[in-house]
């Protein structure tokens, strides 16, 4: 639209702000900035007016009021006397729990399927293709709803586990029984798994706004310390190998360093498993993993796995045949070829799209709404919002939290990506 070549004159004219490329970018930027500032001011002004019209204020003090509702799954202690902020934390941890397990299962499943799809086994290849196409082309919401219905319709009720006196006398087995050495019970209400307990735990440290479970943090500290000590040991061994040519035997030291402190600590604190048992209406003891959690995690993993499988397949196919031929020519065995030649190169292709799949999975945990899973959206953006009527504060806070999670994940994964990328020549 603008004429491209205006010979710059010595004297400054107003039109140069538009036509002179030296000034034009400043003009545009200033105009954009002014427009943006005006838009923001307009939005803020509207918001203030609307809030005033509804007699509301913009403040977050409601977060410290009593929540009053119960949450089925809580990773940190919470009762209906806790405040809304605590409920928010419980919800956030529930979100992160689904995202964490979902990413792990999706990766395992996705890589397996991606590799199997390339297998020379005709049947398996076809099956995997069907799987990938089925999951990629049907909305995630349907998979979540379907998994949930399947879980709660096909599993036995707790009462089916009961052995009544007559049945014991007749020597009949109950309609359902527990799995894995009688430690895990899958009912149509959830999965009961054994809970780790400590006879002599370290208790909790109350910091006022939150309390810390000292046992958990102590174990975490010991594990991290062991891993760090083991790395030091290996580094020392490598240094010795480079200096003298002999590598000292380290495997038993590694095992000792990695496991002994944790085991000693667990024994010292009286670690034991509390196995769920049928009491009253339900299984009591142990940990109840609700079906809403299981359904959400399973459906998210299955769905995301289909996408990851495609990424893995594309990554492996992207490595030219010459690479594996060269490796064979060097006399490398097939599995070493995979480990040393193909995978490191394929990873570079795989990781960037994998990051965005992890991000998608994390964001998709918000679909827990379909099975009423009380995640961040269910607590802060659901019940809290509903009971307090503070939609502006709740929604903004919720978006901010999701945004922060996303940014953290992409930052961490990008760091990892940098470390596996080709170093600049």
């Amino acid at each position: 639209m603008a004429m491209a070549t205006d010979v710059p004159k010595d004297s400054f004219r107003l039109s140069m702000l538009i036509y002179d490329t030296r000034y034009r970018s400043y003009t545009i930027q200033i105009v954009v900035l002014v427009l943006f500032a005006m838009a923001v001011a307009w939005l803020l002004n509207n918001t203030a007016q609307n809030l005033a019209a509804r007699g509301k204020e913009f403040d977050f003090t409601f977060l410290w009021q009593r929540a009053g509702y119960d949450i089925g799954q809580q990773l940190i202690p919470y009762t209906n006397d806790s405040n809304h902020f605590r409920a928010l934390l419980v919800g956030l941890l529930n979100t992160l729990a689904v995202a964490f397990w979902g990413c792990i299962f999706a990766t395992i499943l996705g890589v397996t399927i991606g590799v199997l799809r390339l297998s020379r086994n005709w049947l398996i290849g076809r099956l995997m293709t069907v799987y990938v196409e089925l999951f990629r082309n049907i909305p995630l919401l349907l998979w979540i709803l379907l998994t949930y219905v399947i879980l709660s319709e096909t599993t036995p009720q707790p009462r089916d586990f009961r052995v009544t006196d007559e049945m014991a006398a007749a020597g009949e087995a109950p309609a359902a029984s527990m799995m894995i050495f009688d430690t895990v019970a899958v009912t149509n209400r959830g999965t009961n798994i054994p809970a780790p307990l400590f006879e002599r735990g370290l208790g909790t440290l109350d910091l006022g706004f939150m309390s810390l479970n000292l046992t958990f943090w102590a174990i975490l500290a010991v594990v991290v310390g062991s891993i760090w000590a083991n790395r030091r040991l290996l580094a020392a061994a490598r240094a010795q190998q480079e200096a003298t040519g002999d590598r000292p035997v380290t495997w038993w030291k590694s095992i000792l360093i990695l496991f002994a402190p944790v085991i000693v600590m667990l024994v010292a604190m009286g670690f034991h498993l509390e196995i769920p048992e049928l009491r009253g209406f339900n299984f009591a003891g142990g940990i109840l993993v609700a079906h809403s959690f299981t359904a959400l995690t399973v459906a998210l993993s299955l769905y995301t796995a289909a996408f990851i499988a495609e990424i893995v397949r594309a990554g492996i196919l992207a490595i030219s045949r010459g690479q594996s031929e060269a490796a064979f020519a060097l006399g490398l065995r097939p599995n070493r070829t995979m480990n040393l030649i193909i995978l490191p190169q394929a990873l570079r292709v795989i990781i960037p799209p994998l990051i965005s799949q992890y991000l998608n999975l994390t964001k998709n945990t918000s679909l827990g709404i379909a099975v009423s899973y009380l995640d961040l959206r269910g607590t802060l953006g659901g019940i809290t919002l509903n009971q307090t009527g503070r939609e502006l504060e709740c929604m903004l806070l919720m978006m901010l939290i999701y945004l922060t999670i996303s940014l953290i994940i992409s930052a961490v994964m990008n760091m990892y990506n940098k470390s596996v990328q080709l170093k600049a020549r």
Binding site: G72, N80, R159, R189, F281, I369, L374, G378, G389, E391
Partner: protein
């Protein structure tokens, strides 16, 4: 090129929807249509049928309001709202009135800047269990799994009830009534808790209704009623008196079938005022004088609406109970129309 339609649509809908100013009554009249916030689908109270016609107990109140204000009970647009979006939809002016079995509570009245104008259904929260569970009182539910809908007052009541009685429970939150019923029937929860009317409706539609019992405890008061925005008392009056007109009609025996006859023959002054034959009751509120008569002719009196949608003989089969007229031992009591 494509933005035009967008702006065109935006401008058009902005004008069509009108401004949600203070005078809702004028807006509704100008628009020629009442926008009523309804449930996304609750059997008996408000749900669309196969051809998209809404029907139900709450829906009929909306139709009555439309008949009163616009003279045509069909000029209602129903906006389905979820438990989460309903009050915002009302506050923002997206709907004119919310008739979506919402419980009147102190905080909703005060903090949410809403006005509950009447109680069209007195309800209370109860529990339903399977008979073979061997439970006869809600206090025996220690350790039970309870299905509960989110986004309602019921979850607060439930927490309070179990806490007061010092017993524990495991909540299973579900999104809507049909999902709750599925879970309950599958045995995923021992008890299902919601408003007693909802429980009765669910029970009535179960294939084996005789195997389920509703426990005697009613753990809360749930006065359900139409809601309008705070600060528009004229509109609030219209909604309130539409409802009361239906009550008075039942009290005086005026039905949709006999309304013309009664009008011709009645000597009761209150009925005359109700039907617009004497006084200027409608005009006092900015309505036509025969506004209430139209509503009664179109949807019937309270008793008719009740028995048509949820009363005994329908699939839902609810007794009048607390919702009988005060003259018959219930709580439904209309102030005098004079």
């Amino acid at each position: 090129m494509k933005k035009t339609v967008f702006f065109g649509a935006l401008a058009a809908t902005t004008l069509v929807a009108g401004l949600a100013g203070a005078a809702t009554l004028d807006d509704v009249k100008a628009r020629g249509e009442l926008i009523c916030g309804s449930n996304t689908g609750l059997t008996g109270f408000g749900a669309p049928d196969a051809s998209g016609n809404w029907a139900g107990f709450d829906v009929d109140l909306c139709r009555a309001i439309a008949a009163v204000v616009l003279g045509d009970a069909t000029k209602v647009k129903f906006v389905p709202t979820t438990g989460e979006t309903r009050f915002t939809a009302l506050q923002s002016g997206e709907v004119d009135v919310l008739v979506r079995n919402s419980t009147w509570t102190y905080s909703r009245d005060s903090e949410l800047a809403l006005d509950f104008v009447a109680v069209n259904y007195y309800d209370g929260q109860g529990f339903m269990v399977k008979k073979d569970l061997g439970v006869s009182s809600a206090k025996e539910l220690d350790g039970a799994t309870v299905c509960i809908q989110t986004g309602t007052t019921t979850e607060l009541n439930l927490a309070d009830f179990f806490k007061q009685n010092n017993i524990s429970y495991q909540p299973v939150t579900v999104a809507d009534d049909s999902e709750a019923q599925r879970q309950y029937l599958a045995g995923a929860c021992d008890a299902y808790t919601t408003d007693a009317s909802g429980l009765a409706a669910s029970r009535a539609t179960m294939p084996d209704a005789e195997n389920h019992i509703i426990l005697p405890e009613i753990i809360s008061k749930e006065p359900l009623g139409p809601v309008v925005r705070h600060g528009d008392s004229q509109w609030g009056d219209v909604v309130r008196w539409t409802f009361y007109a239906m009550l008075i009609a039942e009290e005086k025996g005026v039905t949709s079938a006999n309304v013309e006859e009664v009008l011709a023959s009645t000597t009761d002054e209150e009925v005359k005022r109700l039907l617009g034959a004497s006084g200027d009751m409608g005009a006092k509120m900015g309505l036509d004088n025969d506004a209430f008569k139209r509503a009664i002719a179109a949807v019937g009196n309270y008793g008719e609406v009740f028995s048509r949608n949820i009363g005994e003989g329908t699939t839902i089969n609810l007794a009048r109970g607390l919702n009988a007229l005060w003259t018959q031992g219930g709580l439904q009591y209309a102030p005098p129309l004079r």
